[in-house]
């Protein structure tokens, strides 16, 4: 299988601090790939560089064979990479439906067609009944779902999810996992997620990359990665090994 996303020796330095240090990995088309690691490991920085929110100091990021390093966020989205935000940012004063319609208008010029697409996605994310509510009135789990719906509406080939399970109850997590798995299975959508909730990572990901202090310390299938001594040490300390 060819790689849809390839990250090659990417680094990000903030003055003296090296947040991400020569990280390389590839995400195959159709895969669900998770990036895990303790707080401050550089996951969100890595994610922001792929999404175009910040440019890497070094290294090359390629999507579908084309370099996208340093492109602005909107250009990256138009190429087919959609994201959610760790701290959710729906358009607060707009209705749920309008939020998703805006995403769907990226590749559609007809508002009615975009609205129809938004309805399909809202039904998929269990938000259809709340479509006339203002986004600001939704609960956190609903806002997370709304972000996923809006990102999906832009018609991405790669979906970036930044801690989309954080703050969800176990049953809500399972529901989100089921939805994402179904979308991945039915449409072949590639998903790259940053996640703290291991329950979700184990259930979703086919491959896992572990970051610690900005460097990649392990990569592989989820079952083998969680048994890796380096990973256990980074999470639980040297005594646990």
């Amino acid at each position: 299988m060819s790689a849809l996303l390839s990250v090659a020796a990417v680094s990000k330095r903030f003055r003296g601090l090296v947040a991400v240090d020569r990280v390389s990995f590839e995400v195959a088309e159709g895969a669900i790939f998770a990036v895990i690691g303790p707080n401050g490991a550089g996951k969100t920085t890595l994610f922001s560089m792929i999404a175009g929110a910040m440019a890497p100091t070094d290294g090359v990021i390629a999507f579908a064979g084309q370099p996208i390093t340093g492109l602005p966020a909107d250009a990256i989205c138009r190429r087919g990479i959609a994201r959610t935000f760790q701290i959710v940012r729906p358009f607060p004063a707009l209705s749920v439906e309008d939020n998703v319609t805006i995403g769907a208008l990226l590749h559609r010029h007809d508002v009615a067609a975009a609205r129809r697409r938004a309805h399909e996605l809202l039904a998929r994310l269990d938000l259809f009944d709340k479509r006339h509510r203002l986004a600001s009135t939704l609960t956190l789990p609903d806002r997370k779902r709304l972000e996923v719906a809006r990102a999906l509406a832009t018609g991405p080939r790669l979906l970036l999810l930044d801690e989309v399970m954080a703050g969800l109850r176990p049953t809500e997590t399972d529901r989100m996992v089921a939805i994402l798995k179904a979308i991945n299975r039915e449409t072949g959508l590639t998903i790259l997620l940053i996640e703290h909730v291991m329950r979700a990572v184990m259930a979703l990901a086919s491959r896992v990359l572990v970051l610690d202090h900005g460097t990649a310390i392990a990569e592989g299938a989820p079952e083998s990665v969680v048994r890796d001594p380096a990973v256990v040490q980074s999470y639980l300390g040297a005594d646990a090994v």
């Binding site: 358009f91 707009l94 309008d98 990226l106 975009a114 832009t154």
Partner: protein, 334 residues
């Protein structure tokens, strides 16, 4: 059941709108010349407020120097008329691109170099002040001694050259206000309108949704400037005199934005309701004071301040959203 079927909401709104339009259309037969002048002023501010609202209410870009587009429209059309005998409607065709180009320059400088929020607002003031000082020294349009349009007798209305009595001007500004309302409604429901709202709500999230925010902010400034320029053309031909100090002054810019802020930023009816409330009440106050023979300079400004204070404290969304809920026409999107 308290909830009304959804279809009723736009219907009620349409009936109310039709009734308001009917009253406004027949107004010249009902009220005297003084009240027509007041209505002209109200509609003028409703029109200019609607134009400003495209930038602020839709795309979230605060312009505190909108008088620059009024002034440019006024001066372009008036200069063409007095110097070359070109009529106001052809003058408008020249004023629109001039205002839009000016908006494009301000927008480009701000958006390309990341000037946003309060700093953007200050930039718009700076440009309006540049224009005021520049026109004060522009001898081609008589600099600070002002540009005067030849006044003709009122009896004869010449719509093509905009020479005539208040009733003609009243219908012109009424038509313009209706057109601006219709244009804004179309824009708000179009793809561009949705992208503007996204930018207003959260620019970073808008970018993450693939929206080229630079481009759409540029459109907002240019459309708003172009629409505003007609207010200037109207101003020039209605008042027949132009002084840089008056048309480009910061107080002019503030007058334009008070209506939509009081009526409700971002809504289609807000600028209209705001203009009626503000200008209507201010003129009433004027009349009452005149009846009692009281002459207080600056009373209008104090009154504007009180209105603004009241709205900011009691109705931060503006008057219209609250009124709309009362009338059962709150279905207006956003």
């Amino acid at each position: 059941m308290i909830a009304r079927p959804v279809v009723d909401v736009p219907r009620r709104g349409a009936i109310l709108l039709a009734a308001l339009l009917a009253v406004l259309l027949t107004a010249p037969w009902i009220v005297n010349d003084y009240l027509i002048t007041v209505l002209i002023l109200i509609l003028y501010f409703a029109y200019a407020g609607q134009a400003w609202n495209i930038m602020m209410g839709f795309a979230g870009q605060l312009s505190l120097g909108h008088a620059i587009y009024v002034g440019l429209g006024a001066y372009v059309a008036a200069a063409l008329f007095t110097q070359f005998g070109v009529g106001p409607w052809l003058g408008l065709l020249a004023a629109i691109p001039v205002a839009a180009a000016c908006g494009a320059i301000i927008g480009y400088l701000a958006f390309r170099f990341g000037v946003a929020g309060v700093y953007f607002a200050i930039l718009t003031i700076a440009f309006a002040e540049f224009a005021r000082i520049g026109f004060d020294h522009l001898s081609f349009v008589n600099a600070s001694s002002g540009l005067f349009l030849p006044v003709t007798q009122h009896g004869h209305n010449d719509l093509w050259r905009l020479r005539g009595g208040p009733v003609m001007f009243y219908y012109v500004i009424l038509a313009a206000t209706v057109l601006a309302f219709a244009l804004c409604r179309v824009l708000l429901r179009s793809r561009v309108g949705y992208f503007w709202l996204a930018i207003r709500e959260d620019e970073q999230a808008a970018r993450a949704s693939g929206i080229d925010t630079f481009r759409y902010k540029m459109y907002a400034v240019m459309v708003s400037a172009a629409v505003t320029s007609f207010a200037g053309v109207f101003y020039a031909f209605f008042y027949n005199n132009l002084f840089p100090e008056q048309v480009f002054g910061i107080s002019r810019s503030i007058e334009i934005i008070l209506g939509p802020i009081i009526g409700g930023v971002g809504s289609l009816f807000g600028p209209i309701v705001g203009a009626f409330v503000l200008t209507g009440l201010a003129e009433m106050l004027n009349t009452v004071l005149m009846k009692f023979g009281v002459d207080l300079p600056g009373v209008k400004q104090v009154f504007y301040g009180i209105c603004l204070l009241f709205v900011v404290v009691a109705l931060p969304e503006g008057v219209w959203p609250a009124v709309a809920r009362r009338l059962g026409v709150a279905g207006e999107r956003r």
